[in-house]
């Protein structure tokens, strides 16, 4: 069995400012295994950075306990924790050249100059910053600075690596490249990693597990697949991959499947999810009440005519062509607006604003959640 590298128990952080109180992090529980990469996803201001800062020891939790490698860390100084931290605002040393910024940690560790140079150069190469080692941070572009911040930490090969949006200022190509490089390195060295990102595809592709936070609380923890296909709350469903949420009246309940009436159509059946937070015995769906149907834009087909009884008649509000796809905004008969993302195949018909169409939901990729 793998050792637990990090454990958060009821960790809470309250900021006090005059009369105002901000509950930035609220009873967060998390267990990270050694070598695992856990990404934090959540809206801006939901407490991701604060959580990371507490793990690093920059911030003292207002409550709860943080255990690293089985040890209570409360008394361990920051510099003895063997942690790497990529700051959201970089925190590069302005008075040091790029080289010295990256070499800083190695020097602190007492490594020899001979040993340091190749490591630094390698790290800079990894982030695509050859030939800048003599520049100062103020002479770098935003993305270059961010890469130096990354290189500075990567070169240390820390046991526990905390990264706060480390790739946010990089272009898509470079970001993709860095993603794989980070992942490779992390796997090779068995680094445990907490990774904050706003890029969902980054979270989904890189993570062993994803923590979805909202307003200081953890909404769901799970593998990318679980999170994506089995959201435990409407928030997660909505936040991750932009699901459409359609409230429908329940007409029948059957073991794991739920049937609801389609406005302007017949009925629609899909599996009914039961989030962990509900008791096993609790009844959460009721015939005659609403349930929320969650369906991803990619799981919707848009057709001119449809004989499928469970298809949703709709009107096109807008259609945008984005290269590989057509993004539709549709209005269902019950006035719910939904989005559909249809892969564009050449010669395909693009429906115009105002057209009356049918939306076909892929029932194997849609599910009900309590409304």
């Amino acid at each position: 069995m793998k050792k637990s590298a990090l454990e958060l128990k009821d960790v809470t952080k309250v900021f006090q400012k005059g009369r105002e109180t901000v509950r930035a992090v609220d009873t967060v529980n998390l267990l990270v295994e050694e070598g695992e990469l856990v990404t934090f996803l959540g809206p801006s201001g939901c407490g991701k950075t604060t959580t990371l800062r507490m793990v690093a020891g920059f911030e003292l939790p207002s409550g709860g306990q943080i255990t690293i490698q089985g040890e209570d860390m409360t008394n361990t100084p920051v510099n003895k924790r063997g942690i790497g931290f990529v700051f959201q605002n970089y925190a590069l040393f302005p008075h040091m050249s790029v080289f010295n910024n990256v070499a800083y940690g190695l020097k602190s560790r007492g490594e020899k100059d001979d040993a340091i140079r190749p490591k630094v150069i390698k790290a800079l190469l990894l982030v695509g910053l050859q030939n800048t080692e003599n520049r100062y941070p103020s002479q770098l572009s935003g993305g270059e600075q961010q890469r130096v911040a990354l290189a500075r930490v990567i070169v240390m090969e820390p046991k526990l690596l905390l990264m706060d949006e480390p790739l946010s200022n990089l272009d898509a190509k470079l970001r993709l490249h860095m993603r794989t490089e980070i992942r490779k390195l992390q796997k090779k060295l068995g680094i445990t990693c907490l990774y904050v990102t706003h890029d969902q595809s980054e979270a989904l592709t890189m993570a062993d597990r994803i923590v979805v936070m909202n307003k200081g609380k953890v909404e769901q923890i799970g593998t990318p697949f679980e999170i994506y296909s089995n959201p435990q709350s409407l928030f997660v469903a909505d936040f991750i991959g932009q699901a459409n949420i359609v409230k429908l009246e329940v007409t029948a309940i059957d073991d794991e499947t739920l049937t609801a009436s389609v406005p302007g159509g017949k009925t629609y059946a899909a599996k009914a999810l039961k989030p962990d937070k509900y008791q096993k015995t609790e009844v959460i769906y009721h015939v005659g009440n609403n349930a929320a149907l969650v369906v991803r834009p990619e799981s919707i087909q848009v057709e001119q005519q449809s004989s499928d009884p469970s298809s949703f008649p709709a009107q096109v509000i807008s259609s945008i062509f984005v290269g590989s796809h057509i993004e539709y905004e549709l209005r269902l008969k019950n006035n719910t607006e939904i989005k559909a993302s249809v892969p564009y195949l050449s010669g395909m018909k693009i429906f115009e604003e105002g057209s009356e169409v049918y939306a076909l939901f892929d029932s194997s990729n849609s599910a009900f959640l309590p409304a």
Partner: protein
């Protein structure tokens, strides 16, 4: 269409800068260059012809060469030791978790040596450490001579380290704490963090403090005069002696001009070492608000020991003065009396009110000038910038006596007839002591990301508004440090003003000097105590006003969402 190329003129692209430059250059012309040039002419024009015989004469004597070395050694030593002590005190105030009240006390004690005119502290220093000194007796130390390099060095260090303290405190306060976090997180020990982050980032403060102390020590004639003895000559003292003792103004001026060489050297050395590095740690992208990391415990202990020792020593020196001001006859008749204070209030009233008026005027004018000059020199690009910056320091680096005489020569004739007026005193103070303000403003600005000012400009704020609403609030600690220093110096300085006080305007320090000459140690002590109290009150008021103005700036806005229909 004109065929000529469009030339951008400063008056159009940046009218505020243009105006500021013109004003400042004009003031330099009148209050720095005019006196200096007049003095140069007096010095080197003999019978209508250029002559360097003076130069040859004063440089011909080995004693003056010794004095040059003496000056250099002393200035170097004082600038290093003073900056070191100032740094330790600044660390104590900004990086330790001493109770706030102790920090305030520390700050107050620190400015004591700055407040008293050099001779009072020198006297109590000799009473303590001089021949048969009380402290020496108490510790049974026999053969120790305070006269010479050692005494001068100790006394000047004591007098000037507060300057370092103020400049460096301002820097340490504005530094970004996230960088501490980053360093620790990269595995640096607290020592290493201190060595590689804290110290280098405070280099602008250290550099400017060294520059200031070097200049101050270079120009100080009073301390070596009392404590230097004959074994340790320094240039400003020799110059003073030449002028006032040998009535040789030319020789004295020549010696003083010699002082400009090392001053210039240090100025450019400092520029060279700090010039092209970036110290920007205050940016518009904020890390989380975080505390500065603690210092290594050994360092904290060291700071605690040194600071307590120094504080006790300073308090001891001033206790002597305090005691002296309350006894009938110092060490003869030690019965308590208020006579000296009565004397001070009876005969010193005019001096007190004159001094206060002059100090307040000078502080206001000087601070404004210092901030403008510091800002322009650090932030703006224009032709002759280095020269501009150095010019502003000229009066500071020259011995006060020389500046004083230059002022008399320059302003005793039409068209600028100022001798005997308030303005000449104010001008002398302003252009001499605003240097601290300039340097600390420059040091502070080096930490602040110019993007903040760009942001303000791009939001349509004029460069003046940007200056007052963005720049100033960000460098307020530095401005405050400069103001305090200026005020204190206006209250206490003597060297230049000895030539500028007049029958109409008299100063507290000249009264203290007079009491000393009249062998009235107790009266001098009483005057000094009154001076100290006044400065403390003024200092408190200044701090309070500053808080008031910044908190008004920061006043929170109450908003109702309902009103806007949100």
């Amino acid at each position: 269409m004109h065929g000529t190329m469009k030339r951008k003129s400063l008056s159009k692209t940046d009218p505020a800068l243009f105006f500021a430059l013109v004003t400042v250059w004009l003031s330099f012309a009148v209050f720095i260059f005019l006196p200096l040039i007049r003095l140069l002419l007096t010095t080197f024009i003999v019978d209508g012809a250029l002559s360097f015989t003076n130069m040859k004469k004063v440089l011909g004597t080995g004693y003056n060469i010794r004095a040059l070395y003496g000056s250099l050694i002393l200035a170097t030593a004082v600038s290093l030791s003073g900056t070191f002590l100032g740094y330790l005190f600044a660390l104590a105030v900004t990086r330790t978790n001493l109770p706030k009240i102790l920090k305030t006390l520390l700050g107050a004690v620190t400015i004591l040596p700055l407040i008293s005119p050099p001779f009072t502290s020198s006297i109590s220093l000799t009473l303590a450490l001089g021949p048969n000194g009380m402290l020496l007796k108490a510790f049974g130390i026999g053969d120790f001579s305070i006269y010479g390099f050692l005494g001068t060095w100790i006394s000047e260090t004591l007098t000037y380290f507060p300057v370092a303290f103020m400049v460096i405190t301002a820097i340490l306060n504005t530094m970004s704490a996230t960088l501490d976090d980053a360093a620790l997180c990269l595995g640096a020990s607290r020592w290493r963090m201190f060595r590689t982050i804290t110290i280098p980032l405070s280099l602008p403060g250290i550099g400017n403090s060294v520059l200031l102390l070097f200049g101050a020590s270079l120009a100080d004639f009073a301390t070596p005069l009392i404590l230097g003895g004959h074994t340790f000559p320094v240039l400003p003292t020799e110059a003073y002696l030449l002028i006032t003792g040998m009535f040789d103004l030319r020789g004295g001026a020549t010696l003083s001009f010699l002082l400009l060489v090392p001053a210039l050297l240090v100025f450019f050395l400092q520029r060279m070492l700090l010039g092209n590095k970036s110290f920007v740690s205050v940016t518009g992208k904020n890390g989380a608000r975080t505390e500065f990391a603690r210092l290594p415990s050994a360092l904290t202990a060291f700071i605690a020991v040194i600071c307590s020792f120094l504080v006790v020593f300073i308090l001891y020196l001033y206790a002597i003065i305090l005691w002296g001001s309350f006894v009938k006859v110092w060490s003869v008749n030690n019965s308590f009396t208020l006579d000296h204070y009565l004397y001070v209030f009876k005969h010193g009233q005019k001096a007190i009110s004159d001094t206060l008026l002059i100090a307040i005027l000078s502080t206001v004018i000087g601070s404004v000038l210092a901030v403008v000059i510091g800002y322009v020199a650090q932030r703006k690009q224009f032709v002759g910038k280095r020269f501009f910056e150095f010019s502003s320091m000229l009066n500071y680096a020259l011995p006060g006596t020389v500046v004083g005489i230059a002022y008399i020569i320059a302003f005793n004739q039409r068209p600028i007839l100022l001798t005997g007026t308030l303005s000449i005193l104010v001008a002398a103070y302003v252009f001499r002591y605003y240097a601290t303000g300039i340097r600390s403003v420059i040091a502070s600005l080096e930490q602040i990301d110019p993007a903040l000012e760009e942001a303000s400009l791009s939001l349509g704020a004029s460069s003046i508004r940007t200056f007052t609403h963005v720049t100033i609030p960000l460098i307020i600690p530095a401005v405050l440090a400069g103001m305090r220093y200026l005020f204190i110096h206006c209250m206490t300085a003597i060297s230049a003003t000895i030539f500028l006080v007049s029958v109409r305007w008299t100063l507290l320090t000249t009264r203290i000097l007079e009491s000393m000459t009249e062998l009235q140690f107790s009266q001098a002590s009483a005057f000094s105590m009154v001076l100290i109290v006044i400065v403390f009150i003024a200092d408190a008021i200044m701090l309070y006003l500053m808080k008031l103005s910044t908190s008004k700036f920061h006043k929170s806005q109450e908003i109702s969402y309902e009103k806007v229909g949100a």
